[in-house]
Amino acid sequence: MTEEYDRPPTEILLPALRNGQLERVEERAEAAPRTYYNVPTIKRPPWRWFIPAYLFLGGIASGVAFIGALAELFGGRRHRSTVRDARYLAVVLAAICPILLLLDLGRPRRFHHMLRVVKLSSPLNLGTWILTTFGVLSGAQAARQAAEDNFILKRRSWLGRVATLLPSGPITVLHGLFGMALGGYTGTLLAATVVPLWASAGVLLGPLFLAASATSGAAALVLVGVLSGRQRREARGEIQVVANVASAVQFGLAAAHEVFTPERVSRPLRRGLWGWLFRFGAVGSGLFVPGALRWVAWMSGPKTERRLSTLASVLTLLGTLAERIAIVEAGKRSADDPIAYQLMTRAQPGEARPTPAQQGARAPQRAGHAAGIAARDTVKIGGQSGSS
């Protein structure tokens, strides 16, 4: 495992900012590692490719929905094509996402068991509700759009009438809010685990995922807008600003994550294949290059602007995909590292359990233990009724 990490092509180019205190603890643990034959202490997430794919597509759906909702409520006429694109994109993605999640279940036919409880302590349960509600709202929004466009859904059909009669304002607001929730809960879902890479500085993951959703949603809206040819340049420029702001937030959060995570814990995200993918794929060509391209596009003529915008959007989307894959895969690696988990679960001063000496002093010094141990098989069991 360590040999793979010890190929640091990025180490020289982008030296990690170090947190002094964590480093010292880390050095102490690495100087004399005491593990159980290096067997992982925790189990690694066995996610297949469906999950990074879901994180990517769900993120786009999220960004598209909330940018679309804000464009509908505050964007005015120039954003009519944005709203239309957002409604159609959101419903398509909202239809694909549950399928991806379902395929990753051990028992796919029991998917509906997720909806038998409401459990706020479980981000996965909350996320299922968010995704379900989001799907319904996306359906309502897309049906309205289809009826307005007379596309697939006939305006005069009863379904079309129902779609246009539904209250537009509240549904739009809810669609935007649930879109945001969809983008953010996934980060919390990863943070609320014992996987060292995700759990340490886990507070930052939800915001990071949400910002990535906004970036990719904006990029998707620009891409679809350019391809359809209906989007006005001013509207596109405004969405590009959203993409740049969200990119900046994303970069800040990714940098903060690196600063606040011990090197050993985030090693899989700093070195090796996933480190490379994260630094150059997600951050380099996913945030910085498209940001520069958008800026150049803003300055240039109509044709170049469309081309550069397309390129920037494609790069942003690929970068977001790289980010999702790198974080998931690096998390799996960090789960395999018992030292990383030890660092995460090391007792802080004052938190340690009573030392053996204290426990020994506290324990009653009588010889009752022998009788107690011999009493094992005579322990009264609660019986049928039980006792709790």
Partner: protein
């Protein structure tokens, strides 16, 4: 009150009767015939079809030196100043006498052995699901398949579980896992069925040295404290309880342990955290970011309305 296990690792002889009894009673399939190549422990870890696992920790080297905490020089070793330190002193004394030649080496054996838990030691621990008071798996389960039963133990209902696997990486001890053959999550049930019929769980029943004891957790904790006191009185001052009367976010463990070395030696976390402690701060941070992004989006899109 809750029922649970007290596993006294100082009594474990590594016979694996608990592993076998568990497999037999719960009709769990064999894992494989692979040899781990690292020790006598070929089970390696707990899993979906392995609900008891005997760990073998060999603290020897060729020269009979203790490979222990004393070399780490951390707070643990200093606080104890016990088995490890004594062994190190013994080892250096041996070295000196060896250097003096054959005449000096006559009484080496007495110094090296120092009892079963002394210098050259072989620690064994029968690991099991801890049935935490605040169980990460139970909190994480999105279907409500994982419940706390009437005996106060954490139980996975196989007819509800849909195999999402989220419990697997919410467990701070790496206990629960997915059975690839049937796609569901499995772990120790603390012999729910046997308990319903008033029987002692299979592993505790099979344990020939009473290393695994079953009963009311409160009573077991009392018994365990007495055992720690007795061991300390006998000079085994490294003995301590893991998972009883601790201030961790997982709370007390219904299956707790008496250990003779640092927890990480047994592949246990020093201070386990229940992962859901992160949920509320993470939600708050996400909502705040959402507000920032929403306002930024509003400002950039809303300009259109003014210029219309």
């Amino acid at each position: 009150m809750a029922k649970g296990f007290f596993t006294d690792t100082t009594l474990c002889i590594g016979c694996k009767a608990c592993e076998v009894a568990c497999k037999q009673w719960n009709q769990l399939p064999a894992d494989s015939y692979r040899l781990s190549g690292m020790s006598y422990d070929n089970t390696v870890a707990l899993g979906a079809t392995t609900w008891r696992h005997v760990a073998f920790i060999e603290q020897f080297d060729g020269d009979g030196r203790y490979l222990g905490t004393d070399e780490m020089g951390d707070d643990w070793g200093e606080a104890r100043g016990d088995v490890g330190a004594g062994a190190k002193a013994g080892a250096s004394a041996i070295g000196e006498r060896m250097a003096r030649g054959p005449a000096g080496a006559t009484d080496v054996v007495d110094d090296v052995t120092g009892g079963f838990l002394g210098a050259n030691r072989w620690l064994m621990m029968s690991d099991v699901c801890k049935h935490c008071t605040n169980a990460g798996c139970l909190e994480a389960c999105p279907t409500g398949a994982i419940i706390r039963n009437e005996f106060g133990d954490v139980y996975v209902q196989p007819d509800i579980c849909n195999g999402c696997g989220y419990c697997v990486w919410a467990c701070p001890f790496g206990v629960i896992s997915i059975n690839e053959d049937d796609g569901r999550a499995w772990k120790c049930t603390l012999c729910y069925d046997r308990q319903r019929d008033g029987l002692v769980p299979a592993c505790a029943k099979a344990c020939p040295t009473q290393s695994i004891q079953f009963g009311e957790v409160e009573e077991l904790r009392q018994r365990a404290a007495e055992r720690v006191g007795a061991l300390h009185a006998r000079g085994i001052t490294s003995a301590y309880l893991y998972g009883a009367d601790e201030h961790t976010s997982v709370g007390n463990l219904n299956a707790f342990f008496l250990l003779a070395d640092e927890p990480q030696v047994y592949n246990l976390p020093e201070k386990p955290h229940v992962p859901q402690a992160q949920v509320i701060p993470a939600y708050v941070a996400t909502v705040l970011t959402g507000i920032v992004l929403g306002v930024a989006t509003l400002l950039s899109l809303g300009r259109g309305r003014e210029r219309r």
